[in-house]
Symmetry: C2
Subunit: 253 residues, 2 copies
DNA sequence: CGATTCATTGAGAGGCTTCAATCAGCGTGG
DNA sequence: CCACGCTGATTGAAGCCTCTCAATGAATCG
């Protein structure tokens, strides 16, 4: 399981381009010898408001990052995949909770250790900044999504982002294995679970995706990537896939 | 005009608590001797995608930070007030556009200058991190707002945040002078201008706020702060104002 | 005083949510 | 092995909130 996650371990973020340098000049590597913690499915890594003692790097699995608001609802602000670093957000306390979706492993490091690792090694700083900057950019994209996009655009954007994340550069995957359940997707996209489900159905009927019937229907096949990119509504920031070459069995819209 | 902005110049952010130290240990002060640029109302400071050459600090006035999405709509991701620093987001290019709402002044500094100022002076680093962290926290709050809140909650949250921003610690302002127009508020809160207007009207009818009829109706009087905090739906993170002591001329809901 | 700009109000439509029922896998125990 | 129950996903119907389109109102400026 989690083919996607496993593949994405080595390289899937801009800052890894800095990893060419030798030694401990890569932020990821400072976690190399840190103790590993196992997390069962659904188990919390830390909880919003707790004292922020550690910084973590995801080893295997996927985590969800979320806040619980006053009426009990949950807002997922992001997902964490292998290699991702979490707990950076400075300040005394964690700004959000993080928990494993499926079984996961993380390497942990105390905050002071991490801080001095970064400040001591000036070559790590640009990478650190890039990390924070990426997080900020992601947050802004999410604001755009939540401000303007309808359900279909949200789902397509989400799938597309996931697809990019677990594709190696140049590779064109068609199939993705979503580690998270529909409720997670709903809480991430600011929709209800029913709307997520209905939107998937609509996308299937349009021939944009197909969903493998096994398990919990977490295996998604992107049948028409270009069309999906169009439906995501991000303008033309998409390197157009080959779409027409597909065995198109779509039911028209 | 812009009473609110003027008042908020000296202290209105958490990190200013670090400003007690002497010399150039305050991030704001590194801008002290930088050249000042004047910006007419509506004029851009920089545009999304431009090469990010400078970092800025707002002197007077208010700026809006926004993205234009593919269909031409605008998403405002935040507002900048006197003292705020902008352009931090690392990377080659600006992630968003920034322009003056009303006439504004900014001090500018080249990126390399700023970077070395921060890296050279270790005492500035925690403040710099706090700044970024604040920005991140604000982005997450915004995601919660856009994910879950209805129009009334959004407007109340917005007004409350603005109220806090331009209140000195301990002070309890009741009147705020919004520098931005309804369209700005709409684009910030993920609503249409009509919904913003209708929601204001509803809040007036409930006796929560009153709006001075002059000018462009940018002067808002918070009549029942506690009720407004309740309507903002942020749970009980509000230090309850005195509400009942007011001359309550509300029309019932 | 008309023209312009921004804000407000109204009516109708549409998309998403809510509540509820059904479906599909999968594990368990008889 | 199959019935049962459990969990998560899908589907349906109705209602509400917000958007869209359009008109009106209020204030400023030439």
């Amino acid at each position: 399981m989690h083919t996607a996650s496993e593949r994405s371990v080595p390289t899937h973020r801009t800052f890894t381009s800095l990893a060419g340098v030798s030694g401990e000049t890569c932020l990821r590597e400072v976690f190399g010898k840190q103790p590993v913690r196992q997390l069962g499915a659904g188990k919390p890594l830390f909880v919003e408001g707790e004292e922020a003692t550690h910084v973590f790097q995801v080893g295997q699995g996927t985590l969800r990052v979320f806040k619980i608001i006053s009426d009990g609802r949950r807002v997922i602000t992001g997902f964490l995949y292998p290699g991702d670093i979490i707990g950076l957000s400075v300040g005394q306390r964690y700004l959000y909770s993080a928990e494993a979706i499926s079984t996961a492993t993380v390497r942990e490091m105390t905050r002071p250790e991490f801080d001095s690792a970064v400040t001591d090694n000036p070559r790590l700083q640009p990478e650190f900044f890039a990390l924070v900057s990426d997080e900020m950019a992601a947050a802004q994209d999410q604001m755009v999504l939540l401000s303007c996009k309808n359900a279909e655009e949200r789902i397509c954007s989400f799938l597309l982002k996931f697809l990019k994340r677990c594709s190696l550069p140049g590779e064109r995957r068609r199939q993705i294995e979503l580690p998270m359940c529909r409720q997670d997707i709903a809480d991430y996209l600011g929709l209800t679970i029913e709307t997520v489900s209905r939107t998937f159905t609509r996308l299937i009927n349009k021939g944009v995706v197909s969903i493998e019937n096994g398990a919990l229907r977490h295996t998604i096949m992107i049948e028409r990537p270009t069309l999906m990119a169009k439906l995501a509504g991000d303008g033309n920031e998409v390197d157009s896939w080959d779409d027409q070459s597909m065995t198109g069995h779509h039911a028209g819209h």
